[in-house]
């Protein structure tokens, strides 16, 4: 029999329904895995007691015939989601001891669906980073390593910012996990660790109770080991929330129906601007192969153009820091979180924020403050908003001739800590294929399609029309079947 921790969510739900194992057993298996994999640092806060309690309650529900959609499924929760009574840090020292008296809408929905929370997963501080390396509680380590024995010791990044979630899911510490995606924080780590990451349309999931990075870009989404698992999770996580003015009041379809649909006649767009000079050859090859697989499955592959792609990264690195500089003003030491002392109010602010925020967060606050300043606003922020509109228009135009867009999720594969992490611009380039969607508010799904020559996973990204996650799931499911990615990382617990 397959190890319980190797099951997908869909398989586990079947097993639970068939009484092959209990939610408690499933949860215990994952808690044991977490114990063994502690060196990966996937969690900032583990909640085994809570998990056991929830698993027990789940078994009781199932026995009473009242099992919910995700009943008994052990999940990791990105430590950006406020969880009532459970410390929530955003991987920042400034919130080191913050215990929210409320539960985020999305984590509440997951709890209401019967899922079990294993703990709070590591991330880049305030979700700012693409390696997981900016966490104030140490980075999560990828379970993947190169085939070269000399490289086996080299610690690889699990991507970021949802680094603990990608680590936990790929290392079989959790069946699925939540992520948030502001510029690629679900898709990039999913791509790098060989799992599936889904960033829904902006407004699909409530942001209420999720610590804000950049409000107009942030979106919650699922990470799991199969397309259908992310569909199962998204079905629970999505939905209108009166408490989030930017959440959209349209019904959530049953995504499971989309998984088995044929891609016959589906138009798959290949954006020529995503073919960069010096692109990883393996990535390029797998991109072409993925297109071919979809064509073989009956889809029509068409060339498209997204002419403003090259501006996406600079636009993103104006808008996201601008919003962040304002969103993070509330961490001032006055009402909660860290407070350093100071002779004056200003001195207290300075001491608290210098001590509480890491370098990358401080850097982005400075950039954001600068681009919003009098005299610079028009040149930076206003112009960036205009270009953002052009980028959105690019997609609207492209979707006149295609139904989904296929592109790589990242320019390369996982790299080692210290390789790029010291150079912020190198790090920012990691987001080049992912930020465009956030700027346009569109849904994107990343799934693994193969390994590089070094044996590291490569993911492909499918981009859909706003609120058309169903078509994404249809295309992703077809590609998943064709690619049949079954590699496991060298390290699994």
């Amino acid at each position: 029999m397959t190890k319980l921790t190797d099951l997908t969510i869909a398989q586990a739900l079947e097993g639970l329904a068939a009484k092959e194992f209990s939610a408690v057993e499933l949860t215990e298996a994952h808690i044991a895995a977490m114990d063994k994999a502690r060196s990966l640092n996937a969690f900032i806060t583990e909640t085994p007691d809570l998990a056991r309690e929830q698993a027990k309650a789940s078994d009781a529900r199932r026995a009473a015939g009242e099992a919910k959609d995700l009943d008994g499924i052990p999940l990791g929760m990105k430590d950006l989601y406020c969880t009532k009574g459970v410390r929530t840090t955003a991987a920042s020292k400034i919130l080191e001891n913050f215990v929210p008296p409320y539960e985020s809408t999305v984590s509440q929905k997951l709890a209401d669906a019967g899922s079990v929370m294993l703990g709070k997963t590591t991330l880049d501080e305030f979700a700012m980073g693409s390696s997981g390396g900016t966490s104030a509680f140490g980075p999560a380590i990828s379970p993947w390593s190169g085939p070269n024995p000399a490289e086996a010791e080299r610690k690889l990044i699990p991507g970021g910012s949802s680094s603990g979630s990608s680590t936990a899911v790929s290392a079989r510490l959790a069946m699925g996990a939540t992520g948030t995606d502001t510029g690629g924080s679900i898709r990039q780590p999913a791509s790098i660790t060989g799992i599936v990451g889904m960033k829904p349309t902006y407004g699909r999931c409530s942001r209420w109770g999720i610590i804000a990075f950049a409000s107009s870009l942030d979106q919650a989404g699922p990470m799991a080991r199969s397309v259908s698992d992310t569909a199962l999770m998204l079905r629970v996580m999505a939905g209108f929330d009166r408490k989030d003015s930017t959440s959209v009041d349209i019904s959530v379809p049953n995504y499971m129906d989309a998984l088995t649909k044929s891609v016959k006649g589906l138009k798959v767009g290949i954006p020529r601007e995503y073919r960069l000079d010096g692109m990883n050859k393996d990535t390029e090859k797998l991109w072409d192969q993925s297109a071919a697989m979809l064509r073989d499955a009956g889809a029509e592959v068409v060339d498209i153009s997204l002419p403003h792609t090259k501006y996406a990264l600079p636009v993103y690195y104006i808008i996201a820091p601008a919003e962040a500089s304002s969103n993070l003003a509330r961490y001032d030491g006055v009402r909660f979180g860290l407070r350093e002392t100071g002779e004056t109010l200003d001195a207290m602010y300075e001491a608290t924020r210098s001590e509480g925020f890491g370098k990358e967060v401080q850097r982005r606050i400075l950039i954001g403050t600068y681009v919003l300043s009098a005299g610079y606003y028009d040149a930076y922020y206003r112009k960036a908003q205009r270009v953002r509109r052009l980028i959105r228009n690019d997609f609207l135009e492209a979707f006149r001739s295609c139904d989904v867009i296929l592109a790589p999720a990242t320019p390369g594969t996982a790299f080692a800590f210290g390789e790029k992490t010291g150079d912020p611009v190198q790090m920012y380039l990691e987001d080049v294929f992912t930020v465009t969607l956030n700027l346009a508010g569109l849904p994107g799904l990343c799934l693994p399609v193969g390994l590089s020559q070094e044996g590291l996973p490569i993911g492909m990204q499918l981009i859909g029309r706003a609120f058309d996650e169903s078509t994404l799931f249809t295309a992703a499911s077809a590609l998943e079947r064709a690619a049949a990615f079954s590699h496991k990382p060298p390290f699994t617990a």
Binding site: Y81, A214, S215, S245, A329, R330, R335
Partner: protein, 483 residues
């Protein structure tokens, strides 16, 4: 228009006012927390108001309707699309580190207010805009020697910032503007206008220019003026200060000044250079505010009669003088009281009794019209006794005083004290005959041409009847007897 006489000529004030009016609503602008005044510190704070991580603002529709209602009351343009912006600055009582306000696209655009001046004339002052914004909390510096306490009850409460054009030319006009604005807000039920409790606050923008000049000078902004009287005092002080600076060859520095109530002066708070860079940008947590026509129409259809309309009606229907009418409509409750008194009675007489006697008495007692010891019915009863000649106007004043003191009905007082007017011709004739007989010498003098003595005879007759004789009849009979 009041000019200031300087040593080098006359100067004119240019005044614009920014009023922060707290919206009447049960809940705050972006959270469900209560807005009641006077609760224990931090008793009315939601996690949104305290800017806890992950909390999001949701617009309170009631506050939006109140802003629309106010805009319509100010005959202003209602902007169907407006945008909430973040005004960023750090302060301990500003939990999020930004205030949600409206910067480039306010909910209400240009409108106007008609001022009623003491000489009975009116003057129009333009409204530039009205926008919705959140209030900040309150820093308490006097609770501990080395710590500041913060009360967030006010944090997030909805304010309307109402900005006027620089159309006012004197402290009196500024006062009239505030009174009129407050009256309109109270009529509309959108702000209680209570400046002492801070639910209506005013910042003054003032610059000076030479009489006849039509350009604007450099202005100063005076903050923290929390009564209409102080606004006028602050304007008066600041105008003279600026004239002094200008006439001694100096220049006015654009700055924010603080009104010091104790000393009666304005003093510099911060200069333009020290001004915050607020880094305004559209709040990404909120979508643009889009108003639908049906809502605007519904609010329009439920607007009450406003002071200007009521004033016109009082002039038209009751024949009141414009000034009396404007005094009566200044408070909705006064106007209602007057109308209750005037109903079925002589409007002018009713207006006179309300504005002179009743307001005078209330003033003396330090009471508002709501706390009047006299009901409109009671005052009406007194007026009825005058109209049907049961008592004279003179006696009525005594009865009124008695009513105020005892709360008794006019009729009962007249009855008890026997103040009923004597209208019996024979009784008055008898009294007059007695007086003329007792003062034969004066009668002779009168007949000899000393006509002033007529008043003496009237006085004697009134005295003899304890003021109860009908004055008209006394006059008439005396004339007959003395001719």
């Amino acid at each position: 228009m009041a000019y200031i006489q300087g040593t080098s000529g006359e100067w004119e004030m240019v005044i614009g006012l920014e009023v922060h009016a707290q919206v009447i609503s049960n809940a705050k602008l972006f959270s469900g927390a209560s807005t009641t005044f006077g609760a224990a510190p931090n008793a009315q704070v939601s996690f949104v108001d305290a800017a806890f991580p992950g909390m999001l603002p949701v617009i309170n529709e009631t506050c939006v309707e109140q802003a629309v209602r106010t805009g319509l009351g100010l005959k202003a343009q209602i902007n169907k699309v407006s945008v909430f912006d973040r005004k960023n600055y750090f302060y301990a009582d500003l939990p999020a580190g930004y205030q949600i306000s409206q910067y480039t696209q306010p909910i209400v655009g240009k409108g106007e207010i008609l001022l009623d001046l003491a000489d009975g004339t009116t003057r129009t002052v333009g409204i530039t805009r009205l926008h919705l914004e959140q209030d900040a909390g309150k820093s308490l510096h006097d609770q501990s020697p080395n710590e500041t306490y913060v009360d967030l009850n006010r944090s997030g409460v909805a304010l309307m910032e109402i900005v006027s054009e620089p159309d006012m030319r004197s402290g009196e006009e500024a006062g009239a503007y505030l009174k009129k604005l407050r009256a309109i807000l109270r009529y509309l039920g959108t702000c209680d206008g209570n400046m002492e409790e801070g639910s209506m606050r005013c910042d003054v923008n003032l610059s000076m220019r030479r009489k006849g000049d039509d350009t604007f000078g450099t202005r100063c902004e005076i903050k923290n003026v929390n009564s209409i009287r102080f606004v006028q005092q602050a304007i008066d002080y600041e105008a003279h200060r600026q004239v002094e600076v200008l006439e001694s060859g100096g220049v006015i520095v654009q700055e924010t000044r603080l009104w010091d109530t104790g000393k009666g002066i304005t003093r510099s708070m911060r200069s333009k250079e020290d001004a915050h860079d607020y880094r305004y940008f559209p709040d990404p947590d909120l979508l643009p505010l889009v108003l639908d026509d049906a809502m605007i129409e519904r609010v329009k259809n439920t607007l009450p009669e406003l002071p200007d309309e009521k004033k016109a009606r009082f002039i038209q229907d009751y024949g009141l003088k414009p000034y009396d009418a404007s005094v009566l409509v200044a408070e909705k409750t006064s106007a209602a009281f007057f109308e209750a008194v005037a109903k079925g009675r002589d409007g002018k007489l009713a207006a006179n009794w309300v504005t002179v006697e009743l307001f005078g008495a209330l003033n003396k007692l330090g009471k508002t019209i709501d706390e009047s010891p006299l009901s409109a019915d009671a005052l009406g009863g007194l007026i009825d006794l005058i109209t049907d000649e049961t008592i004279s106007g003179r006696i009525a004043k005594d009865v009124f005083e008695e009513m105020v003191a005892t709360g008794k009905a006019a009729k009962d007082i007249v009855e008890e004290k026997g103040l009923k007017q004597i209208t019996d011709t024979s009784a008055i004739e008898k009294t007059i005959d007695d007086i003329l007989a007792a003062n034969a010498d004066k009668v002779a003098e009168y007949k000899g041409g000393k006509e002033k003595l007529f008043g003496f005879f009237v006085g004697q007759a009134m005295k003899a009847t304890g003021g109860k004789a009908n004055p008209g009849m006394v006059n008439q009979l005396l004339k007959k007897k003395l001719s």
